[in-house]
Amino acid sequence: MTFLFATLFYISLGVLIVGVALKIRQYWKTPAPLKIPTMPAPTTQAGVVFRMAREVILFESLFRSTKWTWMFGWMFHFGLLLAFVRHLRYVMSPDFILWPLINNWLVQFAGQYASLMILFGLLGLLARRIFVDRVRYISAPSDYLMLILLLVITVSGIMMSFVTPIDIVSLKAFMMDLITLDSGHELPVSVPLVIHLGLVALLALIFPFSKLLHAPGLFFSPSRNQVDNPRERRHISDWAKKLES
């Protein structure tokens, strides 16, 4: 089991990194022939950064369109952030300089209870797909797959946190082995842990091929990352430049 999971982790991490890198390269190279920032748009670069930050942190445009989706979506994502920070304890050595930020009551507490936020958010998003007619109509199986995958990961995590505790010291030893390319520590096998880790690996594997790419993709959306200055500066994409000259 230990070997299996170690292998799985290296493979899925490799796929995740390479896959996302390739995707980002593709996004980078995709031309944006027209100036199409969503109005009202900022007229300076700093303004664009500020708007992008609001988009990333607060999901501003989603808030303006549908409040319910925003509420569940934001709860899910923010909870995920908190839970992620809590999980850093498994991959950080106690003598690492950032350790006090992780080994900290508030951070661990917030991360633990954020799981309930994630759960509630995901359930809300799932309910939206099932009960809102026009959303159900456009929902593909992969939309459900993502939600259910995340739900099972969340529930198995909640199980380990609140119901059937696992041997986290051994788990950390195993994780540290993976990071330091070491071996010798067994994975403390338990059903929820195997489900949790297995599905996380699966998620990493399909991430580069899924809708979850909206995470890096957001930064490349021309309607968000462009400055509203077509009159001050003429917008020509790279390929168009070549044609011009």
């Binding site: 808030f63 009551w105 507490f109 209870y113």
Partner: protein, 413 residues
Amino acid sequence: MKPITYTQIEGKSTGYWALLGVLGAMILAGFSASMYMEHHGHHVTGMTNQIVWGMPHIFAVYLIVAASGALNVASIASVFSKKAYKPLAPLSALLSLALLAGGLAVLVLDLGRPDRLIIAMTELNLKSIFAWNQLLYNGFFVIVGIYVWMMLEKKMNKYTRIAGTAAFIWRLILTTGTGSIFGFLVARQAYDAAILAPMFIIMSFSAGLAIYILVLMAAYKWTGRELGDSVLRRLKNLLSVFVSAVLYFVLAYHLTNLYAAEHHSVEAFILLGSNGGGQYSAVFWWLQILLGSVVPLAILFTSLSKQRLMIGIASALVIIGGLAQMYVIIIGGQAFPLEVFPGMEVISSGFMDGVPAAYSASFPEIVLGFGMGFGVALIMVVIGVTVLRFLPQSLADEVVDPHYVAESAEAAA
């Protein structure tokens, strides 16, 4: 009457960001104060083992009481179908949520173990009115939250009345619960009175409305929106009724106590300042009665209240009077020595039996209570009106007043 349009405020001006900055600084200061208290322990506050609830509780209880009162304006519209109040309702509900959040933030941060907030919610002793209050507070957030949703979303408008009625009933129970925190304390001479629950309800009416008037005036002045005299006239008349009602309850409470011999000494303590109650009788007569009730009534009942500034001043004085009343009830009630040995005089005691407990509020306590409490409440209102449509574009007389045409016709005639 024209149809009412609600819009967000723009939230781009320097003044807006300055306001957010000030409120943020208040919250930060309040949080730092609580960290300081947590780190050093509560002995750095004015609190002792006799005065166990100090300044933070005054602000917290006041804000919680005011929260349910702030909902009153919405209730008048939704439950009692007064058309003129309808445009005022969304802000009223938002303010009530915000004030409750502010009050609870203070209360939680003043706990000995705020890190055990989860325990407070998972371990409930249902015989405790405090535990019931927790359920009432959480329920209030849910019910008023739904009420706001019904008001703001057009297709849900038809349920506004039901949600509003539920919220109205809930807020009455909630304030009864808050008053009962003191009313159920049989041991203390100043409490142990059933009248405290209804008195807290009346106090909530005046506190909530006073804060509402100030927030409304500020919001409309700072955003340059029109606020007609008709709205303010109604609100200030209502305020004068509520302030009078509070005075009536205070009178009834003290008269009842004065009739019972066992309460004579506590009455002398609060009303006359005898046996070391000087600071409490001073706060009672000067701040609560004179400055916080008589002066505002004098303004509201006379032509002085034709000026907006005076209405604002009266509202501010009502708030000060309400805080003073909380001070007298909470601190004064604890300072009066417990009658552990009736008929006996305490000569000496290892723990200051028989003498009034000393209390002087410390700086961190006040910063926590005021900064955190009002900071959280007001910042929620400011952000709320920026992101959602709580405020009518205009509250000019011709928009709001159902009798506007008639009146102007009369005036013309």
